[in-house]
């Protein structure tokens, strides 16, 4: 590449975010390396989604700095679609547009290209996420949960952004579909060289696809590292999370 590669795709320093009197993120720092899949775990309502939404600029921060691919984030996020793709928890597909139009939307808004090429790219993306060309003319209301997530992923990837944010990508999917989705994310990450920031509760996803896992507790990142390191962590919340009854059972069965 022409410009020197930064080592980190996302750098968060001393981030403070709160609503009213409640502080959700308290001087949080986090680095996401270029080309890795980082899983973020945390208690429900503990600020995982808040962290993600702050990084992508949806929630204002009180202090601290956020750099995404060497550019600091603040104010309106112009040209954001070329920098990152976001998979929202419920898909957030535009319900008045067909699947094809949903995928073409970022292309149409950001680039000047012929309708023919746009159609081909939309179908290409659709097939890359494991759907078929016949699905292109359906409306979001006609899609199943798994298909909605796949279409949302195709839309997030429409412009080949270097960073992909996933908010609970496997929630609401059956284990087979969730496993397929994990594999899909892994494959796409390798082929497209993506950096993936994934908020998830799915222990299976954490073990199989994530290169590193970060644990968020009390508004801070209390542990970060590969899964096996986190399992050794002494932090009480992290221990409770990974060594609770439910987690133990899953890990035993996975062995």
């Amino acid at each position: 590449m022409s410009e020197p590669q930064e080592e980190f795709a996302i750098r968060v320093r001393d981030l403070v975010v709160g609503f009213g009197r409640q502080t959700v993120l308290d001087h949080l720092s986090l680095d996401v390396r270029r080309g890795e899949i980082l899983g973020l775990v945390g208690a429900s309502g503990g600020g995982k989604s808040v962290l993600m939404r702050t990084i992508i600029g949806l929630i204002p921060r009180q202090c601290g700095s956020i750099e995404v691919v060497g550019r600091s984030i603040g104010g309106r996020t112009e040209g954001a679609a070329t920098r990152w793709g976001i998979l929202f928890q419920q898909g957030a597909l535009f319900s008045s547009l067909t699947v094809r139009q949903n995928i073409q939307f970022p292309l149409r808004e950001n680039l000047v290209l012929s309708q023919e090429l746009m159609d081909e790219i939309a179908i290409a993306k659709l097939e890359m996420v494991g759907l078929q060309a016949q699905d292109a003319d359906k409306y979001p209301a006609e899609l199943s949960g798994g298909m909605t997530k796949r279409v949302a992923l195709a839309r997030a990837l429409a412009l080949d952004p270097p960073i992909l944010f996933l908010d609970e990508p496997t929630s609401g999917l059956d284990p087979i579909a969730a496993g397929d989705f994990d594999t899909l994310i892994g494959t796409l990450q390798k082929t497209l060289g993506l950096t993936v920031f994934m908020v998830t509760h799915d222990l299976a996803s954490l073990t199989t696809v994530c290169d590193r896992v970060a644990a968020l507790a009390d508004g801070k990142i209390v542990a970060i590292g590969p899964m096996h390191e986190l399992l050794q962590s002494e932090h009480p919340w992290v221990r409770a999370y990974f060594h609770g009854k439910r987690s133990q059972m899953l890990q035993h069965q996975m062995r």
Binding site: S95, V112, L113, L117, A124, A133, A141, D160
Partner: protein, 378 residues
């Protein structure tokens, strides 16, 4: 380094060597399209095509697809096309792109436009029949619910009914009063203006009184209620349907008709006559003010003339229509709400349908009542 993508074409004998250079990414899509179009003819003429990928500095799905399309263009005519010098980190992407767009979906055959029209006509006929069925179904379900309540009066959702009455009745009073007041004033002004030419100004009062009490008071109020409360009912029930709240109710053994729809429709049936009465009085008051300040008629004379011109019959004719109109508005609004499907667009469409349909039905009903009352001599 190179900021613009390039495509160098070097013919060697029958073969063609293409060497793309620079960043082949979505940001440069306009250039990429021009480049690939410019070599199209050469690709068609040559025997074999080689794509030398070693000069590419950046590649994404879009760029890879444009190159893949070139190679397919060559391959489609039976000429071999191959990629050489592919960097390791691009090979995965190229392999992936090679898999896509292989199956062109079969487009649905275009229908004959005449047939299409006929098809649509048939569909809308069936839809209209379905509309009638849905209306009757809702009327039946409501009647059953009413019978249930009559049998066990305690099962009436009184809190809900009172709350709906507050919303569609009490809160609607200011706007209803304002609009009907203005309508009454306008009719009176027109009456004075035009009747003055015949010296029949005093008959303006008869016109205002009869028109307002028999027709306009109740009709205007019904149309406003359809727009104000009918649309709210449809949107509420529609979004409850979307969020599966109605299904949740049914699974708990409760009848949504009984819990949600009966209080709403009953509130409308109670509120609309009251609103129509208040509206009519406001319209008469508006007419009276115009009579005083525009027509120069003293209030006492206005009231005396009104007393002569109108009778309880006129008032009855108007007010008797109100509960039926309320029933129509309520049934249409609630059944359209229950017909909402998953999307936000469907909610909007159903709300529009609800308002348009209930206003239409209210006016049709008013016409039918006019004929009915005329024939029984009221």
């Amino acid at each position: 380094m190179n900021l613009e993508p390039l495509l160098l074409a070097t013919p060697s004998g029958d073969a063609l060597k293409l060497r793309p250079e620079g960043p082949w990414t979505a940001a440069n899509v306009a250039t990429l399209e021009t480049l690939s179009r410019s070599v199209g003819a050469e690709v068609d003429q040559s025997r074999a095509v080689t794509l030398d990928m070693s000069g590419i500095s950046a590649l994404d799905t879009l760029g890879a697809w444009v190159l893949e399309k070139l190679s397919r263009r060559a391959a489609s005519a039976g000429r071999p096309a191959e990629f050489v010098g592919v960097a390791d980190h691009f090979s995965g992407l190229l392999d992936e792109v090679r898999q896509v767009n292989r199956h062109t979906p079969v487009a649905a055959p275009a229908l004959n436009p005449v047939l299409l029209r006929l098809n649509n006509l048939g569909k809308s006929t069936v839809d209209a029949r379905e509309d009638v069925a849905v209306f009757l179904q809702m009327l039946g379900a409501l009647s059953m619910a009413v019978i249930g309540v009559l049998r066990r009066p305690k099962s009436l959702r009184l809190t809900s009914l009172v709350y709906q009455l507050y919303r569609v009745g009490w809160q609607a009073i200011p706007i209803v009063v304002l609009i009907t007041f203005l309508i009454g004033a306008i009719i009176a002004q027109q009456g004075f203006f035009h009747f003055r030419r015949f010296g029949a100004e005093s008959y303006t009062v008869d016109m205002v009184g009869i028109l307002v009490l028999r027709e306009l008071g109740v009709l205007i109020v019904a149309i406003m209620v359809a727009g104000r409360s009918g649309s709210a009912y449809t949107a509420e029930l529609g979004s409850m349907k979307m969020r599966e709240e109605i299904d949740a109710l049914s699974t708990m053994g409760l009848d949504p008709i009984h819990v949600l729809i009966l209080p709403r429709v009953a509130a409308l049936v109670i509120a609309l006559p009251i609103l129509a009465f208040i509206g009519s009085v406001a319209a008469l008051y508006g007419g009276g003010l115009v009579a005083q300040f525009y027509g120069g008629m003293a209030p006492a004379i206005y009231i005396a003339r009104l007393h002569d011109a109108i009778s309880v019959t006129h008032f009855e004719v108007g007010i008797l229509k109100a509960p039926f109109m309320a029933l129509v508005i309520g049934i249409v609004a609630c059944s359209e709400g229950l017909r909402v499907k998953g999307s936000a667009e469907s909610l909007g469409r159903q709300t529009t349908t609800s308002v348009v349909k209930s206003i239409f039905l209210v006016i049709v009903l008013d016409g039918l009542f006019a004929i009915f009352f005329a024939s029984i001599g009221m």
